[in-house]
Amino acid sequence: MNEDLKQKNTRLIKKLMFVVLGMFGFGYALVPIYDVFCDITGLNGKTAEEAVQEGVYQVDVSRELTLEFVTSLNKKAPLKFSSEVKKMKLHPGKYYTVNFYAENLTDKKMLARAIPSVTPGLAAEFLKKTECFCFSEQEFKPLERKVMPVRFVIDPKIPERFKTVTLAYTFFDNTETSVKN
């Protein structure tokens, strides 16, 4: 193989390797891109991760929405987890408080984290929580039972097409992996 061709090959390989490395990086870049994209568009039903200030809304008594609550456990986390009501009718703009109950079924300390999800996803931004157990990791003493109130309001700006909104919580047992250990 002559030198000229070798050089051409080397130059081409370098360029192509650059593409390969770039695409490997792009795979990782998709992680933040995905988060940002969902943040902007509100596509994936994530609610705010921190409490919002309790603002004052005009209560819209003419509208009534159904809010459903789903409670579930990841990988059989040793908890008992339920909500005070399974569903409720509510008016946009009015504040409500619903109690959730969780009980540690083990005789050890447990650190657990609840992850909320709203369906339909685009309704998530109108569900504003001023108090929620999902904002931080919950610490359970052995066999402790907790009452955890969630205070929230549905923003009256929520589009007409949303009649039923589901708020789901999944509890994850983080005892082994939590940074608090």
Binding site: M1, L5, N9, L12, I13, V20, Y28, V31, L43, N174
Partner: protein, 535 residues
């Protein structure tokens, strides 16, 4: 460059090394091509055996032969072995044999890397196969390796992931080699738009590979760190999202299916004109259609995940973008049909397989179009309908065309003619049984039978039984191909073939201007004239 190439001492026409060492240390494109093809054929039977285990279990409702965990391992491993061990290496093998001969080059541009990428493939597949014997069994969560399910895999998980890394590196090296060969080694006068279509489709495939394999490597690395290093890319408890994996995976996965089908298109575009005795209809439109398909493949990935809860805007976008792919694909089907139109056609085995490909791939394409419609996809999703769809685009498409390529080029590679009667028998058995095997799966899927289950409701019993019967006929008739390959290498019918083997093949592509079999080192001086039939 032309004059210097022949003068350099790399190009004394020394023969191959003797014995087994030849195959281990070889840097010759023909030897490496043979290694790839032989390896792919072996893996085709390994993956096929797994398929037959699946079809045996599904022959009747109820649990008969294997436990559900092993069944799930079989569906997962069948897919991984067929995709990464059989179809992709088979096309790399064809690329190795054919690209240098088709563009008038003495060898691949990077012969040592070529050897390394083959042996890395072997290492990767062995590593993958070893997971079958590990505590907790082989990966069983499907070839898509979705978390959180795949993270429950036993000891096998890191090995499966490293195996994906090795296979990825091997494919990337192969792809770089193909690009370098095509860009830098073409014979004088062979401009890009005068290259045979097989070379064109491989060039585009190679670019797909270097763009997507690193993304897949990244995705599985995230799985690895999620499992062992407490990252939370896909773990909701730590702020991650399992759906993110599906997006990254299918960003790789959708172009990956075109990695398997674009070279198929290339081979079909090579074979059909020879047996229709006409130039390929619409050469330039074929090139542009291939490029268009490759481009579109990057922007349609979420049609694999219509049911994850995307908003309507997302569903609509991915639905229309997906349907757009039917346009360039339709151009191709039209061109193949137009090539045959009023041609002086003969029906040797390679042509039979190619015609069957055009017909059956079209069917697979249409079911794909059905599933592109987001609202109806909710019914088809994860049922046997999708199983039928992608098997129609892979078995009677990619696999049939690989068989066609075998029959088409074996006489060139060996200098011997294969047994046409057994070849035709192989074709008819395959063509009929493949439909008995996969066509009923459409019905099963529409009736609601989910995929990846070892047991099913009794209402699905009849079609499953028929499908399994088809599977066994199809599987065992492939042994005829093995017989023919071995028989042809050892002398075949005894008839010595001419240089061009098929009538007027010389007009279509350069490899037919070489003797049959071609010398160990061919085109050490570039050809003077290149065929112009395809314009």
């Amino acid at each position: 460059m032309s004059a210097n190439v022949a003068a350099h001492d790399d190009h004394h026409d020394h023969g191959p090394e003797k014995g087994i060492v030849r195959w281990i240390v070889t840097t010759n494109h023909k030897d490496i091509g043979t290694l790839y093809l032989a390896f792919a054929l072996v893996m085709f039977f390994v993956g096929g055996t797994m398929a037959l285990i699946i079809r045996s279990e599904l022959f009747e409702p109820g649990m008969q032969f294997v436990d559900p965990q092993f069944f799930n391992s079989m569906t997962t491993m069948h897919a991984l072995v067929m995709v990464f061990g059989a179809v992709m290496p088979a096309f790399v093998g064809l690329a190795n044999w054919q690209i240098p001969m088709m563009i008038g080059a003495p060898d691949m541009a990077l012969p040592r890397m070529n050897n390394m990428s083959f042996w890395m493939l072997v290492a990767g597949v062995l590593l993958l196969a070893s997971t079958l014997f590990m505590e907790g069994g082989a990966p069983a969560g499907g070839w898509t390796l979705y978390p959180p399910l795949v993270l429950q895999t036993g000891d096998a998980l890191p090995f499966a992931i490293f195996s994906v890394h090795l296979l990825g590196i091997s494919s990337i090296m192969g792809a770089i080699n193909v690009i370098a060969t095509i860009f830098n080694m073409r014979a004088p006068g062979m401009t890009l738009m005068k290259m045979p279509l097989f070379v064109w489709t491989w060039l585009i495939t190679a670019f797909l590979l270097i763009a997507i394999m690193p993304v897949f490597a990244g995705a599985v690395t995230m799985l690895l760190t999620d499992r062992f290093f407490d990252t939370s890319f896909f773990d909701a408890a730590g702020g991650g999202d399992p759906v993110l994996y599906q997006h990254i995976f299918w960003f790789f996965g959708h172009p990956e299916v075109y990695v398997m089908i674009l070279p198929t298109f290339g081979v079909a575009s090579t074979i059909i004109p020879v047996f229709a005795r006409k130039p390929l209809f619409g050469y330039a439109s074929m090139v542009y259609a291939t490029a268009a398909i490759a481009f579109l493949s990057f922007i349609v990935w979420a049609h694999h995940m219509f049911t994850v809860g995307m908003p309507v805007a997302g569903e609509l976008y991915f639905m229309y973008a997906t349907m757009l792919i039917a346009v360039p694909t339709g151009v191709k089907i039209f061109n193949w049909t137009a090539t045959m139109w009023k041609g002086a056609m003969t029906f040797e085995t390679p042509m039979l397989f190619s015609i069957a490909f055009v017909v059956l791939f079209t069917m697979g394409g249409f079911t794909g179009l059905m599933m592109a419609v987001a609202p109806v996809d909710f019914q088809y999703h994860d049922t046997y309908f999708i199983v039928a769809h992608f098997h129609y685009t892979l078995v009677p498409a990619s696999i049939f065309i690989l068989m066609a390529a075998g029959y088409f080029w074996l006489p060139k590679w060996t200098g011997n003619m294969y047994n046409e009667r057994i070849g035709k028998l192989h074709f008819w058995l395959s063509a009929i049984s493949v439909n008995i095997l996969f066509f009923p799966q459409h019905f099963l899927g529409l009736a609601g039978m989910p995929r990846r289950i070892p047991d099913y409701a009794v209402q699905f019993a009849d079609w499953n039984m028929i499908s399994s019967i088809g599977a066994f006929i199809y599987g065992f008739s492939q042994l005829l191909f093995v017989y023919i390959v071995i028989d042809t290498i050892r002398g075949g019918t005894g008839e010595k073939v001419t240089d061009e083997v098929w009538e007027d093949a010389k007009k279509h592509s350069l490899e037919w201007t070489l003797p049959s079999p071609p010398p160990y080192h061919s085109f050490t001086t570039p050809p003077e004239k290149i065929p112009t039939e395809h314009f």
